[in-house]
Amino acid sequence: MDWVWLTFYLAAIVVFGTAGAMLSGENEKPQFSHKLGLVVVFGTGSLGYGLFLLALFGVRPTRWPFAVLSLVAVMVAGAHLIRRGKASLRGVRIEPLHVAWSHVGSAALLILLVVFHSIVLVHALAFPLYEWDAFAIWGLKAKVIAAEGIVPQPTYFTDVSLSYSHLDYPLMVPFLIAGVYGVLGRVDDQIAKLALPLLYFGLACLVFTFSKRRLPTSMALAVAVVVMGSPVMLRWAGSGNADVPMTAFYTTSVVCLSEWGEDSKWCSCVLCGVMSAFAAFTKNEGLVLGVFNCAIMFLLPIRSVHWKRRLAGAGLCTAVFLLLVFPWFVWSNGIPHTHENYLAHLRFSEIAKNASRIPIILAEFARQIVSLSRYGLLWLILIVSAMVGWRAFRSRTTVVVWSLLLLQLGVYALIFLVTPWDVHVQLRVALDRLLLHAVPLGGLLLALHLSFVRQSNGDSNNRVELDVIPLSHHAAHPSVGDKA
């Protein structure tokens, strides 16, 4: 019977996700994996955020809101389809995954991806919440939300004797877990992690699609394997922590940002804003990364012949981002910041005082980068491919993604510089999970550089994205619009 109710949960994700995929519009050449990835990541994020909005109106995540939510979403989707008629149905074109089955390498890589996903699935659904952070931070919040809702604010959120559970942390993962409790009608922290393997799957689809647009299938699959099979990704994806969900939302936002840089469709910058907001609603790091996305959006108009459209897109993205994070800020305003409160520590005096930590932090970053047992060879082959495929730096997309990656690493280094805790302990405990957030970006950059390596080799089979602006709604103009 549980699985019947869980179908409601999954249906809500699919319906929300399909709406998001519709919002993304028609690409020049839509790929099934792109649609699938977007449906899963957007759908899961929308479900968590939607439950939060409902909870603001005093509705707890029980079976009824799910039924109503699904019904409303189905009606909206149906009305949309009827209004647009058959053209809309044709718009959702499903292009089969072009895996050359005769090619043993591609088949082996696909099997490897399936094996990795099975590991995440087993970890998520065969174990209860047993990781410290998973039950102490996210699981406890999910129980509170499922039992008491968030309006009026439960006493938990002001109980400082529980501040080890980070009272002020964002609530995406707790709401996703509470949603499972809601449809089940009871607490079951084994099934609770249902949404996590989905997000892992969605992330894999998006990394593959991004690579596939630039590389042959076998190489795109290899890039996806290198990212999704990195030990640190497998370790945390099904644990019940919020790191991989945040990574999924953030990576999707970066993919949308790069699409906006390449095709300039309004839906890309709207989706970038939405996904950045979802990342911010999942972990505090996501808020900083979302701000970086918006800042980069505002840099795109520089040296662009279509600077007005770029500027308007940046404004739209930022407006969507702020609009979606605003309710969370308002609701969480009164929660005591008894824990790290890094924002309060970000003072020049504090940074200067802790300057002696810089060598320690840099050394640990370097040690992590070469750690095969955490990231495989990802960072090392990225460095090699960046050197060999240096021509990729001529592309605005490459510059944008590198900028985001370096900003991300910079801000994480800054966190360790001002942390009130023992920096050695913090580095040992948290650095691998923080660098995990950057792993998919490393994969995207790998694809970009390898595509230029192949291009310089005279291989014209792959499609190398140029920064183009479409003149008409559907067709991309074949001229370079911006200069990197």
């Binding site: 699981g139 080890y164 099979g229 030990p231 497998l234 495989g376 060879l377 082959i381 491919s385 005279g458």
Partner: protein
């Protein structure tokens, strides 16, 4: 000049596929080699047939079922917080107790004490008195005792 172009072209031809192939092979070793986390978690899942790890099951049963109503106070005897393992155990019990026992509360200190981490929890431990028992509606006191051999025993006392 031509040599340089040839070198670049040769690199471009040679680098991508082996680079990715080595990376994928390396991942296979990292994930499926002896002692790898992925391998261990799969073996553990097969071994347990869906049962919870024993230590978790015991703690969840203790805080979730053996004390069905009212709040809980924890005391630790014979533990040395200076030892990392002892502090880790005490912290895990407090965190897990609050998780498993919800909506009931599990205390080791008055609610005004800010417990940010295990170290703070250990430092702020208090002794339960009559006023705290009534104010916090403590119905149960659980005493974790560690003897000299390192064996841990649990006593459950009814306070109200």
């Amino acid at each position: 000049m031509e040599n340089k172009a040839n070198t670049v072209s040769w690199l471009a031809a040679v680098v991508p596929t082996p680079l990715l192939a080595v990376a994928v092979l390396c991942l296979c070793v990292a994930n499926f080699g002896s002692g790898a986390w992925s391998r261990n978690i799969c073996l553990e899942a097969l071994k347990r047939h869906g049962e919870m790890p024993e230590y978790l099951a015991k703690l969840d049963d203790l805080f979730g079922h053996q004390m069905p109503s009212g709040n809980v106070w924890i005391e630790f005897k014979g533990f040395n917080p200076e030892r990392g393992a002892d502090e880790g155990f005490m912290t895990y019990v407090y965190y897990r107790g609050n998780y498993a026992g919800y909506p009931r509360r599990v205390y080791v200190s008055p609610p005004s004490a800010v417990v940010n981490n295990g170290e703070a929890m250990v430092q702020q431990r208090a002794v339960l008195d009559q006023s705290l028992t009534q104010r916090l509606r403590i119905h149960w006191m659980v005493v974790f005792s560690r003897n000299e051999q390192g064996k841990i025993s649990v006593n459950i006392l009814r306070t109200q």
